[in-house]
């Protein structure tokens, strides 16, 4: 029972750390996916006095992905129903050219300024509309969300680290007697520490198994995907190979570091 409790406390601490990491990864992925959506929806309108090629925009700034010409034909048709074709053609020639500029990713306000300045340097560009105000509100909201999640994750990591340190002291106390006795009979360090490493590796495997099971169950919850879908976010919450292996590696790393610290901190006392 005592041994089970010892296992449980490390498994709980490891599980919490892994859970926090995976939640942080999911939020990062969700934000990245949402930013991708926003970047596809977001565009800057450019008004130019002459025709500009797509390549001219791409050359202007590395952030620019492509440009699209906004056709004014439909609007003109409604406005010029009673006009002669010759006059309509003249009007068309005198009208400025409208372009929609798409960016590679969702820009920060500074990126928008930078792109705007680059576009202004193109001689024929007369006006730029970047919808900065509504963009800034959304961007700041995303930033706030990111920061809140980061602070939350860091807090949990700090608390669980303290838990692990406490656990380490407990283990140090529990295992030092056995390690001392083994040392008295000439056991090499690897043999004295074998039990400790076995315990920590087993706990890391159990914690990783539990986290795999928990996130596999979460991955199959339709309502979560529906809620994300409502925000046009489609993502993999948990990839058993990529995420599972990464979390297993982290759990093993923490456990081995923990056991090594206990062994290094051990002093023979008789």
């Amino acid at each position: 029972m005592k041994s089970f409790k010892n296992h449980l406390s490390l498994i709980t601490a490891l599980f919490t750390i892994l859970f926090t990491i995976q939640i942080f990864i999911i939020v990062e992925r969700a934000i990245a996916s949402y930013e991708q959506n926003l970047s596809q929806q977001y565009s800057i309108i450019v008004i130019a006095n002459s025709t500009l090629q797509n390549s001219r925009f791409i050359e202007a700034h590395p952030f620019i992905e492509r440009s699209e010409t906004i056709t004014v034909d439909d609007v003109l048709e409604r406005l010029t129903r009673d006009m002669k074709q010759k006059n309509v053609d003249l009007l068309k020639l005198s009208l400025p050219k409208f372009y929609r500029i798409y960016l590679k990713s969702y820009p920060s306000p500074r990126d928008i300024d930078s792109v705007g300045n680059a576009l202004k340097k193109i001689p024929s560009v007369s006006k730029i509309e970047s919808f900065a105000q509504s963009h800034d509100t959304l961007y700041n909201l995303l930033l706030l969300f990111k920061n809140v999640v980061s602070v939350f994750a860091l807090t949990i990591l700090a608390v669980t680290t303290l838990l692990i340190i406490k656990e380490m002291r407990l283990w140090q106390f529990q295992h030092s007697e056995r390690m001392n006795i083994m040392a008295l009979f000439g056991a090499p360090v690897w043999l004295r520490s074998a039990v400790l490493f076995r315990l920590s590796i087993v706990d890391a495997i159990i914690a990783s198994g539990l986290i795999n099971a928990a996130f596999s169950a979460i991955e199959h919850q339709r309502w979560i995907h529906e809620q994300l879908g409502a925000l046009s976010i489609t993502l993999t919450l948990f990839d058993p190979i990529r995420d599972g292996l990464m979390l297993f590696g982290i759990a093993m790393g923490i456990s081995i570091v923990l056991a090594s610290m206990i062994i290094m901190g051990h002093k023979e006392e008789v």
Partner: protein, 223 residues
Amino acid sequence: MDKVILAQNLTLSYNTQESIINDANLSINSGSFVFITGASGSGKSTLLKAFFGALQPRSGSLIVGGVEMKDIPSKKLNFLRRHLGIVFQDYKLVKEWTIEKNVMLPLIISGYTKEVSETQVDKLLQHVRMTHQSGKYPPELSGGEQQRIAMARALAHNPIMILADEPTGNLDDYSANLIWRLLEGANTQLKTTVVVVTHHIPEEITTDYKHYHIEAGSIYEVV
């Protein structure tokens, strides 16, 4: 006769504190039975600690089993300890291990196979009359029984020398007598060197022995 322990001008101390053993000379022959006596705090246990490498000599020389103990590398110390059997007043058994596993410890460390270890443990438990308790854990046993297990563990790997620190200090007369018989048996039958640190030499000892006494940091041979 081979010297299993040879101390020359040996000085022992803990950290920078004043020395506990001062400029001492002592020699113990292989196969002998030796008592080291002294008052509480005289340095008996400190000397024993130096014999099994838990304390390094501050100055002088201490050779145990042909190995110089001053600045001994840990690998060499481990090797030496695999040839020693140590018995303590507080038994020093691993509480979470069964009696059988505790006795098996030196055999596991020395790399014996499972089959050989099990046979040896059975023999030893029989020798210390503890076969019926093999599956139990140390806290389930009395002090005398725990010390018998500690004795079995000390004998398990046929050590060249048994170092015993007040082995009967916590025991009743019956258990104490049993421990003395076991130590004498190891010395007379197996020719194992036995070094016992104690307050008083017990009257029931029948074997020939050598007696050292520690007083005011010096070691004297009592003839």
